[in-house]
């Protein structure tokens, strides 16, 4: 579900188990006018996705309950969530550099540690893209 009204702030869901990082991202994006909600685990993230409209998901891969990829798969297979852009928010892993089929499920990758400006640019660019 993309932003419908240009004047309405975009809602971004951050699924991240590290509280300090989730708080940091929320601080930065909130400061830029986005509505930010957070989930400390995959199940919680999916629950929130089911409850409210979200324009973008920032997803950590290493979650304490379910695999980040399973969150992607669930979203892509669930009609109202299938079009929500996902930005992978993860520590760079060498095996992810190789060809991995899951890459097609996400719209971009933000590597941790991240630069504030890079995060904002990526979020803005992704939200500006037409729906897939």
């Amino acid at each position: 579900m993309n932003k419908v009204d240009e004047n309405m702030p975009n809602t971004i869901l951050i699924i991240e188990d590290q509280d300090d990082i989730a708080a940091l991202v929320a601080l930065i994006l909130g400061g830029e006018g986005y509505t930010v909600i957070t989930a400390p685990c995959g199940e919680e993230g999916l629950r929130q996705l089911a409850e409210q409209a979200v324009d973008l998901v920032l997803l950590d891969l290493m979650l304490p309950d379910i695999d980040g990829w399973d969150v992607c798969r669930h979203m892509r297979a669930t009609a109202p969530l299938a079009d929500i852009p996902i930005l992978l928010f993860t520590v760079r892993r060498t095996q992810l550099d190789a060809d991995w089929p899951e890459r097609a499920m996400v719209n971009g990758i933000i590597n941790k540690p991240f630069e504030r400006e890079a995060l904002l640019a990526m979020v803005q660019a992704t939200l500006a893209e037409p729906a897939a």
Partner: protein, 754 residues
């Protein structure tokens, strides 16, 4: 016929002349009778009267036809009347009228009537008849005899007579033969032999009967003939003619030749064969031995013939212990039941040899067993070869029985042999695999690969020297890994495939372990990176944000976060360094005598605040007995602290953590028991292996290096650590066992892990 000639002049003399005539007439052996024209008998001499059976006086004056009415109507009456009427003399032979004798009758007219003379010709007549019969028989014989019979005139060199058989045998007609030179029927040799026989005969020698000639028939084929020849000569002793009786002996000749050839063959076989040929009579005595037999057994004919087989060429007992005397008795009783028989034999010098015999009985015309014939082949070499083969086979078996590789011989796709290793490895009984398709022992996952390998081999394409395949057990489970190598051999005279398959299960397991270890290391590095980057992300992000905003509030918010994450990273780095020291044997302990109970108390107190914060029930059950140990206190606190921190991390609010100390013999025991999420059984054995247990669940508090480091340190104390868990969600118990310090041990010792 002209022996006596009476004339009418004699009969006409009368007076004294008559008396002389009468005397003569009375003395001769011919009958004389005078008849007058009225057919009265006017004179009979004594011989005639004797013939007629009456005295002359009773005959004189009698009327012929009245006295001998039996003559009326016969040829004799006609002759008599004709001569009387015509006056012409006549003579004829007359069968016996009055007895069984023949008469020659001569009728001569005379002035007084007629003179009848008759003479007994019975002898003559019989001989003539016999001659005639003989002649007739001869001609019949000549014509129809199964032998060719012919006469040759030497002067004209022509046949005089030839019989039908001669024509039939030679294929010529009688006329053709009669126009031929008889000697042209013979070849040069035959003519010479014939000439020699004539010469021999003329020289008074009796020629050989039945000399054989080759006679050429009209169509060119040779008739073998035995010619029996008799000669006639002229007054000068020169041969006039010859009578030849020829017998066609072609058939006999052929039989003779066949017989001769057969005998020749037999002789050749017996003399030249490499087979040993013996004849032994019913008493077991050798009656015949061919050259080969004599040579083979090193006997002369005289030495061997007449000896009993047992003791000469047959040892009484075989090396194997078999009683050969009994065996020979059995052969003698029934040679045919020992038709094929192999046994040990003996040369003159006692050397033992093996012979394969073929025995058969020789029976007489009545079917009684006379002797037995034994034909033998020296099988010593073969027996040796067989024994060598058996030995070789035994060696092969021994080798294949002992070798720790699977060995299989496959012929026509079926297993002919499988060594014990394979059987044992797959849990097979021999009967389960022998005669079964080769696939029986290969895991189905590899059937297609092996089939392709086989097809390629059949097509002559190269096949890999080695392939890795998995076996299958008798129950169908994976039966270990094999390095599969196959080669074509000859097995029992036919091509087969010898498969040697080395058990590489251990290697495969290690490869797999290595692969897993590599994977674990990769995972470890990934997690390490994650664990290092995660606090770094917070530190960098929060500090940058604080600096950018620059407000005291922002600083106050950010600084504790930065500090907390810095501590986390420090702890991580400490664990990494400790771990690195342990695996590189660089960790040094400085142990001092301490009490384990006191150490436990200290560690428990260090985390009490945290437990309270997390609402966990932390209890410590000390022991009253002293637990003196030698330990590096900082390291011991690290170990107990790691266990307690794990329990804190994995136990939910409301759960409990219990620490106990006790003594068990020479050992001090410390246990940390929690009601936390427990450890799955499959993870439990690897819980202390750093590269193994890296998993999402275990990672929750970091790299999971803590337990690996703890174990390393405890082992440096000559102690041990173990983990127990009833399973996921059912808590865990970690137990440290350390040696108690001996009572007199007061000195400090430096432990290190070199």
């Amino acid at each position: 016929m002209s022996t006596h000639h009476y004339t009418a002049t004699h009969a006409e003399d009368d007076g004294p002349g008559l008396s002389l005539v009468t005397e003569v007439l009375e003395s001769i052996s011919d009958g004389v009778c005078l008849l007058n024209p009225e057919w009265r008998i006017t004179y009979v001499n004594r011989c005639a009267a004797a013939y007629l059976g009456l005295a002359p006086a009773d005959l004189i004056g009698k009327h012929l036809w009245d006295s001998y009415p039996q003559l009326i109507g016969t040829e004799i009456e006609q002759y008599l009347r004709a001569t009387m009427a015509t006056r012409q003399p006549r003579d004829f032979d007359m069968p016996a009228l009055f007895n069984d004798r023949w008469q020659h009758v001569q009728l001569s007219p005379s002035p007084e009537g007629m003179v009848v003379c008759f003479r007994d010709i019975t002898e003559q007549k019989t001989m003539a008849q016999a001659l005639e019969a003989s002649e007739r028989r001869y001609r019949e014989l000549l014509t129809h005899a199964p032998s060719a019979i012919y006469e040759i005139d030497f002067r004209s060199k022509r046949f005089i007579t030839v019989n039908d058989t001669m024509c039939r045998l030679t294929g010529y007609t009688r006329d053709e033969l009669l126009a031929m030179n008889p000697f042209e029927l013979l070849d040069d040799d035959g003519r010479k032999v014939f000439q020699d026989r004539i010469s021999a005969w003329l020289a008074g020698q009796s020629p050989d009967a039945n000399v054989e000639y080759n006679v050429r028939a009209k169509d060119g084929h040779i008739i073998y003939a035995a010619l029996d020849v008799t000669f006639t000569v002229d007054e000068h002793g020169q041969p006039l003619s010859t009578t030849v009786v020829g017998h066609d002996i072609t058939q006999r000749r052929k039989i003779d030749e066949a017989l001769r050839e057969s005998e020749e063959r037999y002789r050749r076989v017996v003399e030249n064969t490499t087979a040993i040929i013996l004849r032994v009579n019913l008493q077991g005595i050798i009656t015949f031995a061919n050259e080969r037999a004599l040579e083979f057994f090193s006997y002369t004919n005289d030495e061997l013939i007449g000896r009993h087989a047992v003791g000469s060429i047959v040892p009484p007992r075989e090396t194997s212990g078999r009683d050969l005397a009994v065996m020979v008795d059995q052969i003698r009783a029934n040679p045919d039941s020992f038709h094929a028989n192999a046994n040990e034999n003996m040369r003159k010098n006692g050397e033992r040899v093996w012979i394969e015999w073929t025995n058969s009985g020789i029976y007489d015309a009545e079917g009684h067993l006379k002797e037995f014939l034994s034909v033998g082949i020296d099988a010593t070499q073969r027996r040796w070869a067989e024994e060598a083969l058996r030995e070789s086979e035994a060696k092969f078996r021994l080798l294949t029985d002992m070798i720790s590789a699977a060995i299989v011989i496959v012929q026509d796709g079926m297993i002919q042999y499988a060594n014990p290793f394979l059987l044992q490895r797959g849990g097979y009984r021999e009967a389960e695999v022998i005669g079964q398709p080769f696939q029986r022992v290969i895991h189905p996952d590899y059937h297609a690969m092996l089939a392709e390998r086989y097809r390629r081999r059949l097509r002559g394409e190269p096949v890999p020297e080695h392939d890795e395949v998995e076996g299958v057990t008798s129950s169908g489970e994976h039966g270990g890994w094999y390095d599969f190598h196959s080669t074509v051999i000859s097995y029992q005279g036919r091509p087969a495939v010898l498969i040697t398959a080395h058990d590489i299960t251990e290697r495969k397991r290690m490869e797999q372990a290595l692969l897993e270890a590599d994977h674990a290391k990769d995972e470890f590095l990934a997690v390490l990176s994650h664990e290092l980057q995660t606090p770094l992300t917070s530190m960098l992000g929060w500090s940058a944000e604080a600096l950018r905003v620059g407000t005291p509030e922002m600083m106050a918010t950010a600084m504790p976060i930065v500090h907390r994450n810095a501590l986390r990273q420090k702890r991580l780095i400490t664990d990494l360094l400790d771990f690195s020291r342990l695996i590189h044997h660089k960790m040094h302990l400085i142990p001092v005598p301490l009490d384990l109970g006191e150490q436990a108390t200290e560690a428990v107190e260090n985390i009490r605040q945290l437990a309270v914060e997390r609402q966990l029930h932390l209890s410590y059950e000390p022991t009253s007995v002293p637990l003196p140990i030698l330990t590096d206190p900082a390291r011991m606190q690290q170990c107990i602290g790691n266990l307690l921190n794990n329990s804190l991390k994995f136990t939910q609010e409301g759960g409990s953590i219990t620490v106990r100390c006790r003594r068990d013999g020479d050992h001090a025991i410390l246990t940390v028991e929690d009601t936390g999420r427990g450890i799955p059984p499959e993870v439990l054995p690897a819980i202390f292996d750093v590269f193994r247990q890296v998993d999402r669940d275990e990672r929750a508090g970091g790299l999971g290096l803590g337990l690996a480091v703890t174990r390393g340190i405890i082992e440096l104390h000559d102690g041990s650590i173990r983990a127990e868990s009833a399973g996921q969600g059912r808590g865990s118990t970690f137990t440290i066992t350390l040696p108690l310090t001996p009572v007199d041990a007061g000195e400090s010792t430096v432990y290190n892990n070199k």
